[in-house]
Amino acid sequence: MTATDLSLPTPAVAAPGNRNAPRRSVQSRGWRLVGYAALVLAAAGLLLPFYWMVVASLKTNSDVFTIPITWLPDRVVWRNYLDIWQRSDMTTWLGNTLLLSVVVSLLQVVTGSFAAYGFARVRFPGRNALFLAYVGTIAVPWQSYMIPQFILMSKLQLSNTLWSIVALQAFGAFGVFLMKQFYETIPEELSESARVDGLSEFGIYRRIMLPLSRPALASLALLTFVTTWNDYLGPLIYLRSPELRTIQLGLNTFISQYNAEYALIMTGSVLSVLPVAVIFLLGQRYFIEGIATTGLKG
């Protein structure tokens, strides 16, 4: 914890006397260097797998594993990025995943923010108990009720349709929780004065809360989009037909079919990560704010 060394030089120098000042600055420069070294090392460790993914996807298959390791390919093989579309059903997988992610995000944002308003701003008997049921399920892992959920979903004739994934992802407690946290930061007087002016609860939600909560809605939409895009277990259990496969499911079947095509496998991986990476980089602020305000994940 040397943040204060750098940001508050005056009181630190004044208090222990001038004798300590030069020693301190040497020490803090040393700490700075250590900090940078640690930062670079950690960044390298965090990025290495991504570097490998991209570089291997641009190699010929026999060049992926060599001794010594080629960290920079001699020539870049763009062919992999053409071949993959012919060798796999990438188009179908990406199409299904995009459709699911968009529909789920829309539903989650609409129903989640709607319910959150009810929890945050309307007082009625049983509200807190109901909210407790929502929050309580966060301590219950999905893996522990996936079996009865599957039974129910089959009874509703939803399994092996894309609807199963929509149903699975769109009504989670996460969206309600995130939006409720946000609504509670909006001053009560705002909705109170609107109520006095004769606006209905729905009117307050539409005209006041929704416009004010745009950043939170963006956080929720982006986080839901990415969660749905990355989901592997849901599709694994519910989507049996090949034409329903999502990108994660498709990618994994591709690996088992072509397990020696190291370069092509990496090409597929890059393509599966790319949309999420772009969305993350564009909307980074919303991701981080969403995570920081709830400290929860889907």
Binding site: M1, T4, S7, L8, P11, A15, R32, G35, L39, A42, A43, G45, L46, L47, P49, F50, W52, V64, T66, I67, I69, V110, F114, V122, R123, F124, R127, L130, V140, P141, W142, Q143, S144, Y145, M146, I147, P148, Q149, F150, L168, F171, G172, E192, F202, Y205, N230, Y232, I237, L251, N252, I265, M266, S269, S272, V273, F280, I288, I291, A292, G295
Partner: protein, 301 residues
Amino acid sequence: MATLPRTRPRNRRLVSRNTVAGWSFILPNFVGFAVLTLLPVVVLFYVAFTNWNVFGVAEWTGTANFRRMWSDASFWTALRNTVYYTVFHIPLTLGASLGLALLLNRKLRGVRFFRTVAFFPYITSIVAIAIVWNQLFSPEYGPINALLGAVGVDNAPGWTTSSTWSMPAVIIVGTWRYMGYYMLLFLAGLQTIPAQLYEAAETDGASPWQRFVHVTLPGLRHTTFFVTVLLTIESFKVFDLILVMTGGGPGQSTLVLSQYIYQKGFEENQFGYASAVSIVLFAICFSITVIQFMVNKRRNS
């Protein structure tokens, strides 16, 4: 409320109007939530006491599933492996994410870039991550063993091909993936510690280590508690990472509870027995959360 009603009939009318309004807001989400989350959790406790199979024929079998579980060696292996993963994953991730957060909380250049980088593994899909790490861990040609060889490790581990090293490999990847996420929670926690506390500690002549122990750690108590709860649940339900990386192998060396539920339920169609195993997972996560909440409450008072 500011517009507190003055008369009783108006009060009652307001309550019923609010109830209608409240429920109509909550209902669209609640229908889905009740049918797909609450109901399954309740049904779980019924199915676990039956011999439900793929044909949907279910007989009440009492505690038969649990008695079978008691003498099921694979179940105990799965439980032991889950605990193995948890015991290492929690402290490693706590340490790594807190370390990163402390590092990023300093005014260094490139911190913003680094925050992006640290978060990247978390938003990348498990499938892609598992595939890449499997290549990195490749025992003979992979870069990890090449690096180990370069620093003088002679017999580098076989990682996912060895039943001793497959779990450590999974733990490494799990920690790598989640540390950026928890770092973010710690960063948010660090921002709530008042700067005056550090100034005061410094004027008292506290060393950086003393400041960390006596200012930072107490200030982060709530965050640490919350992160530990999330980490515990996350560790006990670990599944997709292992499924794609090792498939539970070699042998049963990385078989975990969630995967055992999946195997029994969706591969062998023994929904009843799988539900009984699910109850164990449910009970573990639930009781750990409750215990942690109680401990935290007592420590606070």
